[in-house]
Symmetry: C2
Subunit: 276 residues, 2 copies
């Protein structure tokens, strides 16, 4: 009997490959090529333009580490914006913070939301929560027209190709700064230091020009290139390394801990060098 294996070439010369039980859905949306598959190792997985976005087995790492690091850094986050993130995983984590009164999600591709609800219900389940407002639209434009509105902004985008290309520009970070309140913080996924060192350096440089506090942290995501994923923080006032112990409250997580909150910023030497 033949076997179906999906291979993502993470670089021209290296990739991961996974055995597929069943392809659940494939569709060329208005913005990208969407695939949903049931894999043996990782459960259901979402691919956009051939790249792994999330899997049922390891999704908790990315979603927890995007959400909790900035949310615990801010002293009282009430209004949160998620740009991208149509699978709903970041929103699910955001809602674990009782201070958050409203979380707005703006994803350009309604199909990502639709098929995540269908095939990744434990990830997307909180998109229906009454504290959440889902908008299908352009995150860049949403940011551009927002002013002094959000406490925390999270950029949960694809790579800087296709629909996300505007989300890796200095103009976008300037827009984020304007959209944030005076104690605001943003976080953006920033790819990986092994294959995309230049991108990480460029984002660090650009964000530093706009935010007085700029930091980089990492987490281990097995289905993402190199297994080490980077996140950039830009903050107007609060330093993620200076969070007091009393700020933390108990939260149900599988990856994030308050100790890891700080340790995640301690970088391997070759990664630290990219931030200097």
């Amino acid at each position: 009997m033949s076997e179906l294996w999906y291979t993502e070439k993470q670089t021209e010369n290296f990739g991961i490959t996974m055995k597929v039980k069943k392809t659940l859905h494939t569709e060329k949306t208005d913005f990208q090529y969407l695939e949903m598959a049931e894999t043996e190792e990782w459960g259901n997985m979402l691919f956009l333009d051939g790249m792994v976005m999330t899997s049922q087995k390891d999704e908790f790492v990315y979603h927890e580490m995007v959400a909790h690091v900035p949310l615990f850094t801010h002293p009282n986050p009430e209004k949160v914006l998620v740009v991208g993130g149509g699978d709903g995983g970041v929103i699910r984590e955001v809602l674990k913070h009782p201070s958050v009164k409203k979380a707005v999600l703006v994803d350009i591709d309604g199909k990502v939301i639709e098929y995540s609800k269908k095939y990744l219900p434990e990830i997307a389940g909180e998109l229906e929560n009454e504290r959440v407002e889902v908008q299908v639209g352009d995150g860049f434009m949403h940011i551009a027209k927002s002013e002094n509105e959000y406490d925390v902004i999270m950029v949960d985008s694809t790579e800087p190709v296709g629909p996300a290309v505007n989300l890796f520009t200095k103009g976008f970070y300037a827009g984020i700064s304007k959209a944030l309140k005076e104690e605001g913080i943003f976080v953006a996924q920033s790819d990986n230091p092994w294959f995309k060192a230049d991108l990480i350096q460029q984002v660090q440089r650009d964000v530093k020009e706009i935010f007085p506090i700029t930091r980089l942290y990492t987490a281990n995501i097995p289905t993402y290139p190199s297994g080490m994923w980077a996140f950039t923080i830009g903050s107007k006032r609060h330093d993620p390394l200076q969070v007091s112990d009393e700020r933390f409250h108990d939260i149900d997580t599988k990856y994030y801990t308050k100790e890891l909150h700080k340790a995640a910023f301690v970088l391997p030497k070759f990664v630290k060098d990219l931030t200097e």
Copy 2:
């Protein structure tokens, strides 16, 4: 023109795949199947029984993190034993510590040493150093006949299949304890928490029965399963988390830093749970 890709199935249903420029050597040795290949992404790579052992591009992570964590924890390491590690990478890092007067390497497979010298010269180059004694032999037996001899022992083995199966037993850890001096420390590679959680838990349990201080730390190794690799420390007196700032000295590294020495022990929640 056809392309040659090597695929390592890291689990039954998941693997990494890499484009090969050229196969440099393949041989069934007395102990394992050895392959050396020149890859596009990672440079020259050594495979044993189909598993990636090391690559020129990412080898520094494993070798630095095996060597420097125990060596900086011990106040004055003079005599060091490396079990396995025939590629010479751990030895190269050990020699960066001026206190080390003698480093003994015992690898069961002389062919690993021979072909590492030939195809991984910047990894194996220090095997000829006058402070190094290379023995081709059984590390388990070497440990069994050693008493109160070493300050630090490093177990740089393959997985617990094939020749390394004895190196994951309680009897082996008891032997290590006897072979160490009274301030002795050992470290062993312990696979990864995503696919081998049971193994990590078992090693933690076994080592705790013998060593008063037992710790787990991790590092990101892109060519190893899941990208997160675990290392177990067993120590008679010195705690790797209690190293004073004055103990550290400058050392030329690409991954290890004195800050990372401590941060590497701060584990994601699901990994921490394996140690309790």
